[in-house]
């Protein structure tokens, strides 16, 4: 018999057996029901679904159990509707047609029947679960792996077991082999971008921002029945509590679709919704689940010295069979979340229940040594005391009870702020405004407003924060925001850092009573970065400060009007990324990691996700470029500047315009000019869309250069994920690269405006202005034509600059301007320094990202050395060019600077001075060698892998230093 014949035979046997099973199950049904079930089986999709829903609705629970047994054996014309109660494969996708929801009582009865029918199996399951839980608590990873396999063999797959498996994996620090868990995760779709499994895996990562992830999962866009299962299953790790009766029934239906075990666990979590003690079989199993899970104290103990309460809270979703865990989660899940979340239902029943868990403490005692919860678990108490999750939830809970009509002394408030977390995301803003009214000090009001303003969209809240902040800074800190931050730091490290994070350039710019120039914005933010660097010892903050100050120096050198009007509200864009993208990012990262493709640094889905972000970055009407393009440029402003301001020239030439023939020429010119301006506005100054196909801002990634930028962004995202195992910094990276992408489009807009110049100015018509019939008006006509041209040119130039990328949003600088700024700075010390700093703007090289302050430092070292030791009046020569690397796609910017040595020096002497021996300590070069020195250059090489010194030599009485910087992309 051939293989094909064998397969055919096996299939036939399976079919025959299933038909036998079907017939025997059908026999258990009354004839009337049997016929209806047969009708359902033989009907097409829609009809079958209607008939099945009817059968489930009209018949009692016993009959429904029997009907479903039949339907599990035989699909209705290919429509899978009734999942297995103990599935042989993990259910992590929308594989079944969703059935209508039954009343809770009916579910309970069905579950009760199923518990009786599967009593033996469930008893064995509970025993096995007990052993698994014990193994998890004892960190016996290999045993865990075996028990998970046993449970799968006994009762099939479940989301409940998936959480246990993911927890074992997350805590497997010793990297023990876990083949069964690995297979489980793989079968669940971890390598195939499955949202359900990757959300579980990601939620157990220590550094993962839990609330961001929760928000992204709980806000999965509703697509009705098409994704109801996914939404209900993913929420189990974050908010397994049903909002109401209807929600519970929906969730039960989804969980039943995953596994009967999941339905039982969900029922256990929400057991407060309905007393089911009269359902004996069900009660027995549900109670057994609790007994098998061990004591919460043992679970908590492990986290006291490893991970703390934050990690414990994340991992508790793997212990939802434990009633104390459920009680613990009830507080956290409801009060460590945005109170406006639509899935929350904080009613009296919940408050009463929480009253049994939370101690009656006053607001001012939450930050002190008081025990905040009533349970009797000492290790959990210790964990809560050392952590800040429970304290934050209790803070929100107490304020909820008082509606904010409460008081807390300033020092207690500051202390409390250091011991809580994420309050800016979880507070009730209205209640906090009541707290503001009861605050006795200005500082207390500021602290409350710091929380309110970050959460609220109301401009009045942000204004109140700024008003109070400016008052205290002016009154007590001589107008210095930095001094105020330092003062706060002396009281609370956490509040000071929070304040630093609040005081972004956008925020500082609106401190109208403190910050009087654009430079003051830069200077203040840079001083805060410097302070942060001193506080944390992290160089990155110092680099940011330097980048800002170098930007300013370049501005000074350019000495031009900088009126860019293109912007993106980065805070709101980050919020959008968190809501719309984080979830998919986590799925992609999990999948890449699982498939061991982190080194490949490329993933097509990641590429598309970055492209999606760029589309929103450009097109969103609230935070995107489109909003600024619309409000600051297109509506009235563009035409007002380019048309009205130019034709206003008419007022200067009344006599000339009284000449009929001249007036006619002018009218014609004006009409053409206006229609050209209108066409630019109506057709081109838009984000490209179906209705605006000529929009110059292309929210897509089609150009080669844009593709390179997106690839660089993807690489950076994967690199960051590889090191942190979280997506926490993704929004910052994406924002930075979106600005780089925009650069390509802004270039197109600018060249479009340049290209329109001739259409606008209409030189032929303008020349004709001079040919007036009245010779007395000829001079005036010439002046008029010249004025019109000059005005139009000036306006175009101004508007050209509207489309510059704002310097504050991400580091970027022209290499030539950097060089020019350095030369200017060195001239402060060596006024006679000769150096050619002119350059052709067309050939300028612009560097984006943090690289440019490295180049600035390198320029400084070389130019300062040349000025100090070389012949200053002989001039410094520089050459800047690109060089392709040996590796594909690698490109370097190369800088070569040479200067003449002084007359009395010999080449040998200078060469000796230039030599830096390998033994020399270059680590502290920046500390000891005054303002310059080649050791600093070597220090740069050591601290930045992209920077390399290619040449340092003295030849032909010239010192030449050449260095290269590896670029990410061009």
């Amino acid at each position: 018999m051939s293989t094909d014949q064998k397969d055919k035979k096996i299939i036939e046997n399976v079919w025959l057996n299933s038909m036998k099973g079907l017939n025997s199950e059908l026999k258990n049904l009354d004839i009337d029901i049997r016929n209806k079930v047969r009708a359902a089986i033989s009907s097409d999709g829609k009809n079958a679904l209607r008939l099945i829903n009817n059968l489930r609705e009209k018949n009692n629970s016993y009959e429904v159990v029997k009907i479903e047994k039949v339907l599990r054996i035989k699909d209705c014309n290919g429509v899978s509707s009734i999942p297995q109660i103990f599935p042989e494969m993990p259910q992590t996708s929308e594989s079944f047609v969703r059935l209508s929801v039954l009343p809770l009582e009916k579910y309970l009865k069905i579950f009760d029947i199923l518990c009786f029918e599967n009593k033996e199996k469930l008893t064995l399951f509970l025993e096995c679960l007990h052993r698994l839980n014990y193994s998890i608590i004892s960190s016996k990873t290999v045993d865990c792996d075996l028990y998970i396999k046993k449970i799968i063999d006994l009762v099939g797959y479940s989301h409940f077991l998936l959480r246990k498996a993911a927890l074992v994996k997350a805590r497997n620090n010793q990297n023990y082999e876990t083949p069964n868990i690995d297979k489980f995760l793989s079968d669940s779709g971890l390598g195939n971008n499955n949202t359900i499994v990757s959300s579980v895996i990601q939620s157990y990562q220590e550094e993962q921002d839990y609330l961001v992830m929760k928000r992204s999962i709980m806000n999965i866009r509703e697509r009705g029945d098409a994704n109801k299962f996914t939404r209900d299953m993913t929420r189990l790790i974050f908010h397994p509590h049903a909002k109401n009766y209807k929600d519970l029934c929906e969730m039960l239906q989804s969980n039943l679709q995953s596994s009967f075990i999941d339905a039982l666990i969900l029922l256990k979590i929400n057991s407060a919704a309905k007393d089911f003690s009269s359902y004996k079989g069900l009660s027995l199993v549900v109670d057994g689940l609790g007994k098998s899970s061990g004591c919460i104290n043992d679970l908590a103990k492990k986290y006291i010295d490893s991970g703390g309460e934050t990690l414990f809270y994340k991992h508790t979703s793997a212990w939802l069979e434990n009633k104390d865990v459920i009680n613990y989660r009830l507080l956290q899940d409801h009060f460590n979340d945005d109170p406006a979340a639509e899935y929350l239902n904080i009613d009296q029943k919940l408050i009463d229940k929480l009253g049994n868990w939370v101690e009656s403490v006053s607001l001012s005692k939450i930050g002190s040594n008081y025990i905040l919860t009533k349970h009797k678990f000492p290790d959990l108490h210790e964990l809560e005391y050392k952590g800040n999750t429970t304290r934050s939830a209790v803070y929100n809970y107490i304020i909820f009870l008082s509606e904010g009509y409460d008081k807390i002394p300033e020092n207690e408030l500051i202390n409390l702020m250091g011991k809580t977390r994420d309050l800016h995301k979880t507070i009730n803003t209205e209640h906090h405004k009541n707290l503001v009214l009861n605050s006795e000090t200005l500082l207390s009001r500021i602290i409350f407003y710091l929380l309110i303003a970050k959460k609220s969209r109301n401009e009045a809240d942000n204004f109140s924060l700024r008003r109070h902040l400016q008052e205290i800074v002016k009154r007590d800190h001589e107008g210095s925001l930095l001094a105020f931050v330092k003062f706060i730091e002396s009281k609370s490290h956490e509040v000071a850092i929070y304040l630093y994070e609040t005081c972004t350039e956008d925020f500082i710019a609106k401190l109208s009573h403190l910050i009087f120039t654009p430079y003051a914005i830069t200077e203040t933010r840079a001083s805060l970065h410097q302070w942060m660097s001193e506080l944390t010892g992290e160089k990155a903050y110092l680099d940011r400060a330097r980048a800002l100050l170098i930007d300013h120096q370049i501005n000074r050198i350019r000495n031009e009007i900088d009126d860019n009007r293109i912007y993106v509200d980065s805070a709101r864009f980050a919020e959008w990324i968190n809501d719309e993208v984080t979830r998919d990012l986590d799925v992609i990262f999990s999948s890449i990691e699982y498939n061991k493709k982190l080194e490949e640094m490329y993933d097509p889905q990641l590429f598309h996700l970055v492209a999606k972000c760029y589309a929103a970055f450009c097109g969103n009407n609230f935070f995107g470029i489109a909003s600024y393009l619309g409000r600051r440029i297109r509506h009235g402003t563009f035409k007002g500047h380019l048309y009205s301001s130019v034709i206003a020239i008419e007022d200067k030439y009344p006599t000339l315009l009284r000449d009929a023939s001249f007036f006619e020429k002018w009218r014609r010119w004006k009409a053409n000019y206006e229609s050209c301006v209108d066409m630019m506005i109506q057709e081109y100054l838009h984000v490209e869309s179906i209705s605006k196909p000529n929009g110059l801002l292309k929210p897509n990634i089609k150009e080669r250069s844009k593709i390179d930028t997106v690839l660089a962004c993807s690489r950076k995202l994967i690199e960051e994920y590889s090191s942190s195992k979280t997506s926490n910094s993704a929004s910052q990276i994406i924002t930075e690269y979106c600005w780089r992408l925009l650069e390509h489009d802004l270039r197109n807009i600018k060249s479009f405006i340049k290209g329109k110049k001739s259409d606008l100015v209409q030189s032929d018509l303008l020349s004709d202005f001079k040919n007036t019939s009245n010779p007395q008006l000829q001079n005036s006509a010439k002046d008029f034509a010249r004025d019109v041209q000059r005005h139009a040119n000036d306006k175009l130039l101004t508007m050209y600059n509207w489309f510059n990328r704002p310097a504050s949003v991400s580091p970027k600088a022209s290499v030539y301007l950097l060089y020019k700024a350095v030369v200017a700075e060195v001239r402060d010390t060596f006024p006679n320094l000769e150096a050619d700093t002119e350059f052709d703007a067309e050939k300028d090289i612009v560097l984006a990202g943090g690289a440019y302050h490295v180049l600035y430092d390198a320029f400084y070292v070389i130019v300062f050395n040349a000025a100090k030791h070389g012949k200053t009046d002989a001039g410094i020569k520089r050459e800047i060019f690109f060089r392709k690397g040996l590796e594909r796609d690698k490109i370097f910017i190369v800088v070569s600077i040479s200067s003449e040595i002084r007359c009395y020096q010999t080449e040998e002497e200078v060469s000796a001075l230039l030599k830096v021996s390998p033994e020399e300590n270059i680590e502290d070069a920046h500390l000891f060698e005054g303002r310059s020195g080649l050791r600093k250059l070597h220090h740069l090489q050591k601290s930045d892998n992209n920077f390399s010194i290619d040449k340092v030599c003295c030849q032909d009485r010239k010192v030449t230093v050449e260095f290269a910087y590896k670029l990410e992309h061009t």
């Binding site: 009087f516 654009p518 619309g630 007002g640 310097a807």
Partner: protein, 148 residues
């Protein structure tokens, strides 16, 4: 009549100035092109009428000083400052964009005044859509001036 015009676009500012100079025999007009200047002026002076643009820069633009921030709702800060100073100088919002963003939502010219009252507790006489070359905005401002 002391009029204060907060507007960064020179052509619009000129039209508004011309309109008030033409309308009132005795009028003193102060102009500001940025939020910081506007705040400073309203702290120093009381006005009979304030015309507020919505999208304004944070600071005046000067060569070599870098770019100020573009504030899409900067005009609301002016209204909030007046409220904080317990002032009731009559204000009219004059903007070229057809909608006004308040608390993260876009409101039409027609409904923006009520939203400003409800959400920010600030009073404005009304909101006027400005269009260069049209006289509609003048008619609307004239109507609103009747309320003073």
């Amino acid at each position: 009549m002391k009029v204060f015009i907060i507007e960064d676009d020179d052509f619009k500012s000129k039209s508004l100035n011309d309109f008030f100079v033409g309308k009132f025999r005795e009028v003193s007009i102060t102009n500001s092109t940025s939020l910081v200047d506007a705040i400073s002026n309203i702290n120093d002076h009381v006005y009979d009428l304030i015309l507020v643009d919505m999208a304004i820069p944070s600071h005046p633009i000067r060569p070599g000083e870098g770019a100020p921030m573009s504030l899409l709702t900067g005009g609301l800060d002016v209204l909030l400052e007046l409220k904080a100073l317990n002032r009731s100088d009559p204000c009219i919002i004059v903007t070229q964009y057809y909608e006004i963003e308040i608390c993260g939502e876009l409101y039409s010219m027609h409904s923006a005044s009520d939203a400003i009252k409800d959400l920010l507790d600030c009073e404005v006489l009304g909101c006027v859509g400005y269009m260069e070359g049209s006289n509609d905005w003048q008619v609307k401002i004239n109507e609103l001036l009747e309320k003073i």
